[in-house]
């Protein structure tokens, strides 16, 4: 299994009459499948909130969804289950799935009681996942319906960072309307995973299935994007790299010698990760006769769990731009859509920050910008949600907890129409 790596500039042509140009580089990365390789087994830990507030239908549907999830896994996969209220306990110890009925019985035995302490749940999950991480794709699904009132959010994030160091991925699922979208988004971002919103109990089954499908398509893990910039190119000063698909995430970078390394985490076979790099190209560089000017050299470093190999390097891709006379903008429409996805996310974030500072009108204006951006990229569902909330704020109405969560989710992703399966 190797890597697909594609780079496109927002506009390949640069105006020779200007001293420099700002450009965005869209980088698409996925794992490529070849016929003779099959994926590594999954090493999954379900971390389930069974606090008192989950009592009744919520916990019943979550248990049902979890049991169905077990049925969709392969017998070579590993599973473990951690339950938490204000304390955490191992419900199913890490094991290969040769006795699925006993696993499902143990899930069924969970009872709703107590408060919520997410960090203890994650801590036990890391312990269980680490028992079976060799040669596997290690993933944790953390589901909660509440604030982490018996826990410590900073500790959650430390565990999420630790998970990444051990090449495990954490996904979060917010259930109902009373969880904290800031914390769950941070855990998922730090844990290299995705955040899912389960608005009503009936959606639990489908969201579990979607997430399982995503982690089953992970072919390569622990991927880093490595960028080498020539002297005539510099990154934007503020948040120069972000992922825009499958969901919007601000990415952090570190320097490795003369390279910039950006952790991407898992690479999927059927879903592209798209990263936007915002940069300034100084035109006063050595230009060859054809007028091309170097912009960046990109490469991916990754682990292949099936072959138990780490630190594999992809073939580098060299990106160049052209200095032209009589410049006319020719924008790559696909890159433009990726940029709009990032603009939608950033504008919504700015609106949320304004709202936190009590600036309701400022928040409404910014949400309205985000709605326009969403419309421009053809994301009508997001446009409707964002605009409705902007209008609510303008009319002096508070946003409900559900409104806030929907806003966060539509800003991060392009929602697919729910399937009827």
């Amino acid at each position: 299994m190797s890597v697909n790596l594609n780079c496109s500039l927002s506009d390949r042509n640069l105006d020779i009459s200007q001293p420099s140009s700002q450009r965005q580089l869209a980088i698409r990365v996925s794992a490529s499948t070849n016929a003779d390789s099959s994926g590594a087994p999954l090493n999954l830990c379900l971390v389930l909130d069974h606090s008192g507030s989950m009592g009744g239908k919520p916990l019943d549907t979550v248990k049902k969804a979890a049991r169905e999830l077990v049925d969709q896994m392969y017998y070579t996969d590993r599973i473990s289950v951690v339950g938490f209220d204000h304390k955490a306990s191992v419900v199913v110890e890490s094991q290969t799935l040769d006795r699925p009925e006993s696993v499902k019985d143990k899930i069924q035995s969970l009872r709703a009681t107590g408060g919520t302490c997410i960090d203890d749940g994650i801590k036990l999950a890391l312990q269980e996942i680490s028992k079976g991480k060799e040669g596997a794709v290690s993933q944790g699904f953390v589901l909660t319906d509440g604030e982490n009132e018996h826990g410590d959010n900073a500790r959650c994030l430390q565990f999420a960072q630790l998970a990444v160091e051990y090449n495990m991925t954490l996904h979060t699922l917010g259930f109902g309307d009373h969880w904290n979208q800031d914390i769950l988004e941070k855990i998922a971002d730090a844990g290299g995973g995705t955040m899912t919103y389960i608005q009503s109990p009936e959606q639990a089954g489908e969201e579990f299935r979607n997430l399982l499908r995503r982690v089953q398509s992970v072919g390569l893990t622990n991927a880093y994007l490595l960028l080498e910039l020539p002297a005539n190119v510099r990154l934007a000063e503020l948040k120069p790299v972000a992922q825009v698909a499958p969901d919007a995430i601000e990415l952090t970078m570190q320097n490795e010698g003369n390279l910039i390394a950006i952790r991407l985490g898992d690479l999927m076979t059927d879903i592209d990760r798209v990263i936007i790099v915002n940069l300034y190209i100084n035109h006063a560089a050595v230009v060859n006769q054809s007028g091309s000017i170097p912009v960046v050299t990109a490469q991916v470093r990754f682990d292949n769990p099936v072959m138990a190999k780490s630190g594999i390097l992809s073939t580098p891709v060299v990106v160049e731009a052209n200095l032209v006379q009589n410049f006319q903008a020719q924008i790559d429409p696909q890159v433009q859509n990726h940029i709009l996805a990032l603009a939608k996310y950033r504008q919504t974030q700015l609106a949320e920050n304004k709202l936190k500072q009590g600036d309701r009108i400022g928040a409404a204006t910014m949400l309205q910008s985000a709605a326009k951006t969403a419309l421009q990229m053809g994301d009508e569902k997001a446009a409707t949600v964002l605009q409705t909330n902007a209008t609510r704020l303008q009319s002096g109405t508070e946003l409900s907890e559900a409104d806030r969560k929907q806003t966060r989710i539509v800003s991060k992703t392009v929602l697919q129409a729910p399937s009827n399966s």
Binding site: Q22, E237, A329, T365, K372
Partner: protein, 238 residues
């Protein structure tokens, strides 16, 4: 430095899209004032040196051929951002949205007054009220506070709170925030408030904390931003 009209982030020179929110940035170039020949910013509404009105016909004649026609922006996002709220919103989402959505989207958020900022737009007062003015120290241009406004907004063109007094024509106006400060008239006194500017306001060389009011007295020196680069003397006439 280019301040984003949408989120006020200060972007490095050469940016065409805001690094923070990806809103296309106004291309600010320097143009020569047709009246006195001084170099002024192309988005200014009047010349800060001689007070010449750069808006209306003049603007169209000077700016558009230079940057909007012959030099298409190298911008991947074409989000229409009106330069000032007085212009109609060119955004037309009709084909792609349900009607109700279209209706709310095209509804302007701000209903703040959009009084013209050029000094020539303040004819002599008829109502005998106290009138006040700001003398720009660096250029000796006097700006009268528009009459009958309870709150006068100071800043540069933006689509959030359009300034009643637009200082974008003055030299060094890049240190002034788009939404910088308000002057409030209450009772028979004027009060100065910084409305959350990035670089602050100094009154008689003392920083004015955001949210604090200063009762203005004739002769007060108001500096927008650091370094006493955009400074005014407050004046009152009865």
């Amino acid at each position: 430095m280019i301040t984003c009209p949408s989120c006020s982030h200060q972007n490095p020179d050469g940016a065409t899209h805001c690094e923070a929110c990806y809103t296309p940035l106004p291309v600010i170039t320097m143009i020569d004032c047709p009246s006195c020949g001084a170099s002024v910013q192309s988005d200014a509404s009047f010349c800060g040196h001689c007070g010449f009105d750069l808006t209306a016909k003049t603007t169209a004649a000077i700016i558009q051929p230079q940057q909007e026609v012959s030099e298409p922006l190298p911008s991947p996002i074409q989000v229409p951002e009106p330069v000032s709220a007085a212009e109609p919103d060119p955004f037309q989402p009709v084909e792609i949205t349900p009607d109700d959505l279209t209706e709310i989207i095209t509804m302007p958020v701000s209903t703040a007054p959009t009084a013209a900022a050029s000094p020539s737009s303040n004819p002599k007062t008829q109502l005998q009220r106290i009138t006040a003015s700001l003398l720009h120290v660096q250029t000796n241009v006097t700006l009268e506070l528009p009459n009958n406004l309870q709150v006068t907004h100071l800043g540069k063109p933006n689509n959030l709170i359009p300034p009643d007094i637009d200082v974008s024509g003055f030299p060094d106006s890049d240190i002034v925030s788009r939404v910088h400060a308000d002057i409030r008239f209450e009772g028979d006194a004027f009060y100065f408030e910084d409305t959350g500017s990035s670089n602050g306001t100094y009154i008689n060389n003392v920083p004015l904390p955001a949210g604090n009011r200063h009762r203005l007295r004739p002769g007060d020196r108001i500096s927008l931003g650091k370094g006493d680069k955009v400074s005014f003397i407050f004046q009152m006439t009865e």
